[in-house]
Symmetry: C2
Subunit: 132 residues, 2 copies
């Protein structure tokens, strides 16, 4: 059983067959799929409705089992706790992970200054390789 299933128990989210399926898809995902993509991947393994996928995703996002961003005109999802800070190499398109410990503090302070408590943040950096 995956990490996310355990997290569901903890948050009091009932574990059903369709939910396990969605959770499994998101545990295996290395990208940020939208509801439709999640449904397609899940449907390869068992019968599940797109409407149900939407309801599940809403529930899991509300309870903090997943995080959700608006991207490319759609809502996209990932397992909670994954790092989502990237540097995109504009020459090659390669994506490099950035360690967020460098920023967490300064961002927290900035939020504080505006009267907010930092809940989460997402940073996308574009850069080009130095040197030849």
């Amino acid at each position: 059983m995956g990490q996310l299933d355990a997290l569901c128990q903890l948050r009091g989210v009932k574990l059903t067959r369709p939910r396990r399926l969605v959770l499994a898809v998101l545990e295996e995902a290395t990208d940020h799929p939208c509801a439709n993509e999640i449904h397609q991947r899940a449907a390869l393994r068992a019968r599940i409705t797109l409407g149900t996928v939407y309801r599940i995703l809403n529930r899991l996002a509300e309870t903090g089992v997943l995080t959700r961003h608006s991207f490319d005109g759609k809502m996209r999802y990932e397992a909670a706790g994954r790092r989502h800070h990237h540097l995109v190499d504009i020459r090659s398109g390669r994506i490099v992970e950035i360690d967020d410990r460098d920023f967490a503090t300064v961002i927290e302070q900035a939020a504080e200054r505006l009267g907010y408590r930092l809940v989460d943040f997402r940073l996308e950096v574009r850069g080009e390789p130095k040197g030849p």
Copy 2:
């Protein structure tokens, strides 16, 4: 004539009445309106179709006159050159601008450390209001 009109000339974007209207709305905006909001504001001044607003926004985003982000399930727009770092109030959905000077340096250094020159970045912070 606003700054954006000049930018259109430069990029070879034909200046029509509806386009000037959309540009004016976005020059005056202090928030990040979606197509529908832009249409409502524009329609107060002259007759214009929502469909046309969408087409104009696409053209202006493609040519770099405006920048577009996906937010709150909708596409939202702002004049090019404005900083696009936001704090999203997770209670109300309100979007607050963050001054990026706080981060530019530390992000530049992080990129440097990974062997890259910083070209651009985008920061999205989610926070909840402090206080009782």
